[in-house]
């Protein structure tokens, strides 16, 4: 039994490292470590559209965090604070739709969850502070993350993996307004913002609004890897 290969989508941006200031494919190492600590083998998938052949060797895929999803994809004009990477949107939507069509185990994180929502016909809030009246999901001062509880729906995949509720770390200014054809299965109790979406018709298709890779709680990654190795 060889180790499951888990794809991680990457940023493609101008990056500075060492003496380099260059266009790079780049991803926080925490995602890689979360996959490796969970028994998978991480490979990074760059946004090079149009292309789904990268899925060929993968046993599972993670859609990672990043910029805002282009509101044109859900038929709305851009809010002044919305910052988009249309090339990444196009490439990841293609990969996401192909992964879902193949029932490839899929974990979507933050931007990834929002992209998944849009892929299922949903819509986003483009700037949560204007909707919720607070910035707890991406504090403008203090520590990087906002921390809060998420309550999980009985019978959901998330509930089975994480229990009744979980403390999470948030860093996002957009959020799910309408989950489309996905099932919302987790909410922030303070403001009822949707924090988890799932497609119960698939083996493992779940999106979370927080950043499990940046915590010591890697149960979602372990479940993704476990799902692939049992298939």
């Amino acid at each position: 039994m060889s180790r499951p290969v888990i794809g991680l989508t990457t940023y493609a941006e101008e990056a500075r490292f060492g003496l380099n200031d260059t266009f790079a494919a780049v991803l926080p190492l925490a995602y890689v470590q979360a996959v490796h600590n969970s028994g998978g083998r991480a490979v990074l998938i760059t946004p090079d559209a149009p292309d789904v052949d990268a899925l060929d060797g993968l046993d599972g895929i993670v859609f990672t965090g990043g910029s805002d999803v282009d509101p044109a994809l859900y038929g709305e004009p851009a809010h002044p604070t919305t910052q988009v990477k249309p090339e990444r949107d196009a490439a990841e939507l293609l990969l996401l739709r192909a992964a879902l069509a193949a029932d490839l185990p899929t974990l979507a994180i933050c931007r990834g969850m929002q992209l998944m929502t849009v892929a299922y016909g949903g819509k986003l809030h483009q700037h949560l502070p204007e909707v919720l009246g607070h910035d707890n999901h991406r504090p403008v001062s203090g520590p990087k993350f906002g921390f809060h509880r998420v309550d999980l729906a009985p019978g959901s995949l998330a509930r089975g993996l994480l229990g009744e509720s979980v403390e999470v770390n948030s860093f996002h200014h957009q959020g799910v307004a309408d989950p489309g054809k996905l099932t919302a299965t987790g909410w922030c109790p303070e403001d009822n913002l949707i924090e988890v979406v799932e497609d119960p018709a698939l083996r493992f298709a779940i999106g979370v609004q927080w950043h499990p890779e940046d915590t010591t709680d890697h149960r979602l990654f372990a479940a993704l890897v476990g799902m692939t190795s049992s298939s």
Binding site: F17, L29, D48
Partner: protein
């Protein structure tokens, strides 16, 4: 379906977008673009020394440039200017040894060529200016050196790099390295700079095992990547 070509990654603190000095897995996009332009799909391989299972998902492997190799790989103590990344050394050594065993096509670039030499039993010069008396292989921080090299006629390196404008196997290349191959181990040296520095190594008994000391991905050289992808298709 295009061949899948794995490219090993750097792990360094990096700054991009909202991220400042974030530990990251990353690679210059020029490597990815060179593979894409050659008709293959690149995936990036962060270092991991658990096993080489990921090779089953790949049709070819590129060991990319980066920091110095740890001299422990060839049984020497680090010199004062040697700056190594043990996590990359361990992960890439494991991948490369498995790739060579299974005849997977391999291209080593800069540090990747040096790893090829060391994996095949060779050794490195830890600071070339001490050996050749010049810094022309890395003229300054972040500055590529351009210099002439001579390619061995009939070699894979000559096939992918061409005969040069004069048809005499001499070409100009871009280099950025302060270490170099002292002993190629079981590999064959097939290109040299005018000062004798090794510029390419290969294994003529394998379908495609080539290391180059220069940076074809930055110079827009296409044939070397197309040849790798051709080998990946067979």
């Amino acid at each position: 379906m295009r061949p899948i070509v794995g490219i090993t990654s750097y792990v360094e603190p990096a700054s991009w977008g909202v991220w400042i000095d974030q530990d990251a897995a990353l690679i210059r996009k020029s490597y990815v673009d060179a593979v894409t332009a050659a008709g293959a799909r690149a995936v990036i391989l962060p270092p991991d020394d658990t096993d080489a299972d990921v090779l089953r998902a790949l049709d070819a492997l590129i060991i990319a440039g980066g920091a110095d190799l740890g001299p422990d790989l060839y049984g020497e103590e680090p010199g004062p200017l040697t700056d190594s990344r043990p996590d990359r050394d361990r992960g890439e050594s494991l991948l490369l040894q498995a790739a060579l065993r299974t005849d997977l096509p391999v291209l080593g670039i800069c540090r990747g060529m040096q790893l090829l030499a060391v994996t095949c039993g060779g050794r490195l010069h830890q600071h070339l200016p001490d050996v050749v008396g010049s810094d022309k292989h890395r003229p300054g921080p972040g500055v590529y050196g351009w210099h002439g090299i001579t390619l061995e006629p009939g070699s894979l390196a000559a096939e992918v790099a061409g005969d040069g404008p004069e048809g005499d196997g001499r070409i100009e290349v871009n280099t950025y390295h302060h270490q170099g191959v002292a002993d190629p181990g079981s590999l064959t040296v097939t290109a040299w700079a005018d000062d004798g520095v090794v510029e390419a190594v290969e294994d003529p008994t394998k379908p495609f095992v080539l290391g180059v000391q220069w940076h074809p991905e930055e110079a827009g050289e296409r044939r070397i990547f197309e040849s790798l992808v051709d080998a990946a298709r067979t």
